[in-house]
């Protein structure tokens, strides 16, 4: 089976225990306004243009049949709306200014990459992590990779935001050792205006997943001006308090590193969000800690 991969990141140390390889599957069922990975929104491959790398050699003009590329006043202009993702221009670009985001790969090809670092997984207690976008968008492909990993005894983790029908997630659970589940907000308004996901489905899926007995780490990206309030974090933490298989809860400060990617995809970047400062993060962690075990990447468990 083939799937669409955005990236495969080796020596990944933030996506689960130990040294891991994180496989980013393309496509997402949310549209978080602060997202710094806009290339993961759609499943299909997309052309990206990094203007700062372009040397205006013009080779792409000669191979493109669709008129995507033009040179005006010595500057390379790219009209991505005309692109049919044939990949011809990418092959002609030696400086990496034109790249495709989203590569079609077979599960065997993905496994070849995963297996390169297999000795490190065993030594460190690491493994692989399927991430996105939303990896469950390609659940059949994800299942095949997970199955192949389990046959090799490789630890598996899924990072998900839960905005889909539960049956897709439940199909993956038998092949998973850990789920890292993002709850980005509790208030319906935030979902409606900023996340564009279904809050009831996301929250219910988490509880249904908990009933299946798999260890779960819940994470909330704390985004300044969106969900960095005591009420929001307290509401999430209270909800998590009923879970039986929660390993811990983590608050992750938002970072705004996505502008270059939005530009490369020809997308508008309207970012009015900010990163909460350390003190604010600690305040919110203390509030959450009243209800659940809270883990901080730098200081470890702040309670229990």
């Amino acid at each position: 089976m083939k799937g669409i991969i955005t990236d495969i990141q080796r020596f990944s140390v933030h996506d689960g225990p130990g040294i891991r390889t994180t496989v980013f599957l393309k496509g997402c069922s949310n549209r978080c306004a602060w997202c710094h990975n806009p290339e993961t929104f759609t499943v299909k491959p997309q052309l990206e243009f990094f203007s700062e790398r372009c040397i205006a050699c013009g080779r792409c003009l000669s191979v493109c049949q669709e008129g995507v590329h033009s040179i005006s006043d010595g500057r390379h202009i790219v009209d991505l709306t005309l692109c049919n993702n044939c990949g011809q221009c990418i092959a002609s670009c030696y400086v990496g200014a034109l790249v495709v985001t989203g590569q079609e790969m077979t599960s065997e090809e993905v496994m070849e990459q995963i297996r390169m670092d297999e000795p490190y997984y065993k030594r460190s207690g690491g493994g692989i992590t399927l991430s996105g976008g939303e990896p469950v968008m390609q659940w059949e492909f994800a299942k095949e990779i997970l199955l192949l990993c389990k046959e090799l005894g490789i630890h598996t983790t899924l990072q998900t935001a839960g905005n889909y029908d539960f049956e897709y997630l439940s199909a993956l659970v038998p092949y998973l050792d850990l789920v890292m589940y993002d709850i980005k907000a509790f208030s319906e308004d935030i979902y409606k205006n900023v996340i564009h996901g279904d809050p009831r489905r996301i929250l219910n899926n988490l509880m249904d997943l908990d009933c299946m007995g798999i260890p779960i780490i819940v994470r909330t990206p704390v985004v300044g001006s969106v969900n960095d309030t005591e009420q929001e974090i307290e509401a999430i933490a209270t909800y998590l308090g009923d879970m039986k298989h929660l390993v811990h809860y983590m608050l992750i400060p938002y970072h705004g590193l996505g502008k270059v990617k939005y530009d490369a995809l020809g997308m508008e970047y309207n970012n009015t969000f900010y990163t909460p400062d350390k003190e604010r993060m600690q305040q919110l962690e203390r509030i959450a800690a009243r209800y659940v075990k809270v883990y901080n990447n730098e200081s470890g468990y702040i309670n229990g």
């Binding site: 040294i19 050699c57 390169m116 000795p119 460190s124 207690g125 901080n296």
Partner: protein
Amino acid sequence: MIAPSFNDRIASIKKTKLEFNQEKINRNGTYDNDDHGWVPFSESIQYKKVMEEKSGLCTGMDAVSRTFANYLDAHPVYIHPMSAFAGAWAGAADVGGPWRPEHRLDDVEEECGRYNILMRGIYAMNHVGGDLNIGLTLGWGGLLKQIRYYREFNKPTSTEFYDGEERVVIATQNWIRRHIEYARTQAAAESNSFLRQNMLEIAEMNEWLVENPPRTLREAMQFLTWFQSIDRMYFTNGSLGQLDELLRPYYEADIAEGRITDDDEVVWYTACLLFNDTHYSQIGGENPADGHDIASRMSFLILEGIHRLNIPSNIAFRVHDQLNEELMDKCVEYLFEDGTGVCYSCSGGLNKGFIRSGYTQAQARMRAKVGCNWTALPGIEYCLQDVTRICLAKPLLLSLDDLMASDGDKSMENLWELYCSHIRRCCEIIKDGLDWHLEYKHLNKPEIVLNLFAHGPIERGVDMSHGGVDIVNMACDATALATAADSFAAIEQFVVQSKRLSWNELYTALQNNFADAQEIRLMLKSAPKYGAGNTRADYWAKRISDLYSAILGGEPTKRGYKVLPGIFSHGSVFMHGKNLPATPNGRYASDPISHSADPDPGFLPGGGTAPTAKANAVAGVTCVSGNSTPLQIDIDSRLAQEMGGREIIKAYIKTFNDMGGTLMNINVVSKSKILEAHKDPDRYPDLVVRVTGYSAFFKSLSAEYRQQVVDRWIAQG
């Protein structure tokens, strides 16, 4: 008066070290070699050079030993008031060279230039580990008695060898005596009671040591201080051996008898030893008999000294299957805290290689990491390492010349055949040179210091380099592996497979250093790189490494000496690139070559890098010989701030060892700090980095050398 704390004493000598470093830069500019411990004395040393009668050169045992004795007699004395020890060295004596005309091998120099062989080992300094147990057991007086005993016992026709060795010991004793006088004078003039007492203790300690073997830990370390000073002065050699095991019996005796009641005192001793010099040594390691780890409390205290002083030092932690977890944990903790510290010498690849080279498992376990990239059997092995290089890229360019000039089929197979013949010739040049070196070395620059600390030379009356010890291993290190592998892969992809380039177009572009051929250069650069895993460049890297290993290590020299292949460029990627024309990986003429066996920065698709991918690549091409193929790695300091970061790095190092790695040199630093320090080195006068096998103040490195470290960070994104 209250004595300053041990930490205050360490801080004081560190302050002096930083001042010395600034003075060195002021005098000589930046320097890219090992920092060493030499002290910038204000006056130059005036001494009489003694010349060998026939050649008029300072060569041979008699002239060399007399000259070195003169140098020691004229050498100034030095005692840092806060140090536990006396002694410092001003720099290497000009002695033992140039070699006599009849012993020079100059007729291959032109061919060496053609092959970009810049270091062929001939005339070079030894790279040998002495057995300091000999000195610690006998003391200077005992060494003298041993020389006299064997001179009498062997009754050689010429006593030149023994006379020379005797001269070296007596000169050392005299130098020590001058320090005793100096210490007493300083004590008499000192009003501070602690400083006065410290000088008196130093004087008394050395009054004993000048004739007798050390009894206490402080005396043992003072002995090592004298040794490493004269060792550096004579030949810039720098090996101490298995330091923790050398010192453990003294430490345990001091503790048992109540002479030491505070381990911080031992930490201070260690810091003072490290202040004196950056001699290479090892902590942790394997018991030769059963492989169990030999780490002791002394290992931890040495590590503590490295950490608290935090200046350039060259101590390795030995990684093996039964390593001491607690000691490794501490090594990584201090690596995260200080950004540097020990390097990680790996038995996984080293032992397997040494056994493959014909030695026993016990010998492999004894072979300690006592040099920049190398290991040696202390006191029983003569070796020459880290001074012999074969460039793997230039033979490819010569092969292309041959291919283009021939009427034969222009193919990868034919290019490879030509390449094999050029590599074979490079190996011949190196081997013949090593034979030559070993034949004549003792007649020019005999091992007057290390002969004293080896098992055999004194007993036999024969120089260590000429039969004094039974085990002799030469070594050679290849350079420019990634440059060559990426070049082969680029030719294969664009000339042979896709045929986007003709052989002529490629050749012309290279001849013109890519002038008016930017597109060709960028095309060649875009080929998947060595290190990414399962690329054609990875295939070529392995094939080149195997070829080089088989030819160099497969056959001994004509005189029967083993030559152990490794891959190591030191930090000299600019020097080795300077005369290298443009290469098919898109590298311009005179640009630096790739570093050791490391993939070039940004080797992953998209231009990134990953520590695991890099380690896999290096382990995959490691020459299995007992020589090393080091990995240089830089870890983001953010990992150090995170829970579990230490365990991840420990697992990473152990996995590299499992895969057959030989040596890992790690820096932990933030990208912003390294960029700021590169821009304005004065802002970080105490920033220490491990450049390759040696560590140095970042500030003391030239802009080119600093750029190496910076490039690795930029590639990491």
